[in-house]
Symmetry: C2
Subunit: 388 residues, 2 copies
């Protein structure tokens, strides 16, 4: 309306002004509008645009100016360039997620939940794959590359990740770890309460009459170590037999559970219940049992841990412990943002969230002849050749 607004450039930095006013006329097509474009069209300075757009309440602008800038910005579809913003303001609004294996459905569900919640908080997730880094050098460089993130979440135990953690800390980046067995001092860790979960699960199995329990671990990861410890403690507390051959360590996936169960079934002295360190392992174990013609849960009970969606659709549906993914994500993100904002780890650096026992059909009463010594299922075909 008022042509007067288009005051000609001022003396000194005339060149720049002119540059600006020429840009005002037509922004380079194809690339997004900048604050200067908005400033030119609104007849204000670029810094004013920045201040108004960032909603800085400590600065006062006339309602007229504010309206005008906002309107132009909306028309141009302007939004601040996050890169430039990050360079100046040190905040990228990016959170690094370092994870061992996304293919694990439990981690996939966790990533999904975290990323949804992060978005609601205005953050994006960038993926770091630990799996892809065989040696330390690569892993280090990877961590270096994540340094354009405001903070990092490490999911699960990575083997030999001390170095990675130290790097992140050295870079002054906020760090929260999740789903790792033993918390390191000074590092914030959010995890499921493995103790409570295993306790509930084992009591359920015990109440069904089982006393001959096997445990299938999936590698030496911290969470699995803890669950194993709880398992052994429970055996001890209840004065159940402890057979080293019933403690099997395989890989952390279906095939690991499958192999482990085959070993278990091949033994002369069989357990009546098999506690798998997680759902995937349980799934493999179940497959091995069914394939060998062993009925579940009539002849042997199987349990999982994590509570991934598809455990409902195994046959029989798996008894498991459901991790409170939602709550864990919420807490981890809240604490991470606090750290990013300058907060400190504080005294309580280990936060445990209680899981929920989900009883389904893979667990049942202990079979009758279970007390016969030396293996209750000597009649099983698969075992005949082992008996001699």
């Amino acid at each position: 309306m008022h042509k007067i607004l288009l005051v000609p450039p001022l003396p000194t930095t005339a060149a720049r002004m002119d540059n600006r006013s020429s840009k005002k006329a037509r922004k380079n097509k194809g690339s997004r509008p900048t604050a200067r474009d908005v400033a030119g069209l609104a007849g204000v300075s670029q810094s004013t645009v920045s201040r108004i757009l960032s909603g800085d309440t400590s600065e006062f602008f006339s309602e007229k100016t504010r309206k005008r800038v906002l309107k132009v910005a909306a028309e141009l579809g302007y939004s601040p360039n996050p890169i430039a913003r990050a360079l100046r303001g040190k905040h990228t609004h990016l959170i690094g997620l370092i994870i061992r294996n996304i293919s694990d459905p439990f981690f996939a569900e966790l990533v999904s939940e975290i990323s949804i919640q992060a978005r609601e908080l205005g953050y994006q997730m960038v993926l770091g794959h630990a799996q892809s880094e065989p040696d330390q050098v690569l892993r280090m460089s990877h961590v270096l590359d994540t340094r354009h993130t405001d903070g990092v979440i490490i999911l699960g135990d990575l083997e030999d990740d001390k170095r990675a953690i130290q790097d992140i800390l050295d870079g002054n980046r906020a760090l929260v770890t999740m789903c790792r067995g033993q918390a390191q001092p000074g590092i914030l860790t959010v995890n499921v309460d493995n103790h409570a979960g295993m306790q509930d699960l084992l009591e359920h199995v015990r109440d069904l009459g089982h006393s001959r329990l096997a445990f299938i671990q999936g590698g030496g990861m911290g969470d699995f170590q803890v669950r194993r410890k709880e398992f052994i403690q429970f055996l001890d507390d209840n004065e159940f037999d402890f057979d080293p051959a019933w403690l099997i360590n395989e890989t952390d996936d279906c095939s690991g559970g499958y192999c482990a169960m085959q070993q278990l079934l091949g033994q002369p002295h069989r357990p009546t219940a098999v506690i798998a360190a997680d759902d995937l392992i349980a799934m493999g174990a179940l497959a091995a049992a069914l394939e060998a013609g062993v009925r579940v849960p009539e002849e042997i009970s199987i349990t999982g841990f994590d509570g991934i969606e598809m455990t409902r659709y195994m046959t029989p549906a798996l008894t498991t412990v459901r991790q409170p993914i939602d709550a864990m994500s919420r807490i981890a993100l809240a604490r991470l943002l606090d750290l990013i904002g300058g907060g400190s780890v504080g005294d309580q650096n280990l936060i445990l969230v209680r899981p929920e026992l989900v009883v389904r059909h893979s667990t049942g009463p202990v079979p009758m002849m279970t007390h016969s010594p030396g293996g209750g299922f000597a009649d099983q075909a698969i075992q005949a050749d082992q008996q001699v």
Copy 2:
């Protein structure tokens, strides 16, 4: 050591110079070294450091200088700040991944593979969750936020994603879509060859004697539409009966397959083979069948699609079509990088990769009395009340 270094700020541009030389002495602890720090210690200019570090072969530097700079850089653990680099060079080395549902194991495996390969190419993935955006406005702003990425990969069909795609294109970003049924003209699409896959699968089922086939879809996504079309075409080509009640559309997950199979089993006229649009659906269908006491594959055959890892560990192990995740990722990434580098989509904007039929134990010969009209399994308990 030298207190002299702590000089108070100077007036004009001398301050900058002095600032630089003071920085040379000791970098601010806690934050990473910059090219200037390296330059100071190596006695060269920042631009020289930049050029040597970026390995620009068109610039010649003496071997002495190059060695010295490299050495200092290594000692300081310097690596260029990606943010600053991105601001200047327009390359963030970040690839956006927009995906409907990471919890789907197939997509999880795909994401895993893509992210591993991307890392090898020097790129990181940032996650965009379509699932978390119920309305268009949010989705738009999401896409805007991804603009600090060099390129975008869209995985699977998002409902109403025309807008999102247009936004990405408007932003001049490279775009490759994967796993979507119908390719849009001008947009590069990498997908499995659904035609070949369905053909192989259906021929396998036909060769087992089946002619009464059902299809379970999981929503109206493009890939599913294509598979459904192939299914119907096959029925037509082979002059098999087509019963609309055998074409079921449920949700794209285990529960969808479960519900669908329940509907199928409740019908007086049952199919002898059920073709599920993907593995998850097949898994649910299998669970429903087993729960209803229907033996698989003796009484009914079930097939999946995708070839996710855990299909091997269902009981019975699932016959399915394995998508060539590795090849698809490789191609998609290669084309995306080409696009980022300034290449054009070209004529062939749809790239199809041939999948592999995986025959396992969920498919078997058609049951004997299959030719009795009006339902071959009238003896099934579950069906008694439907017969009247």
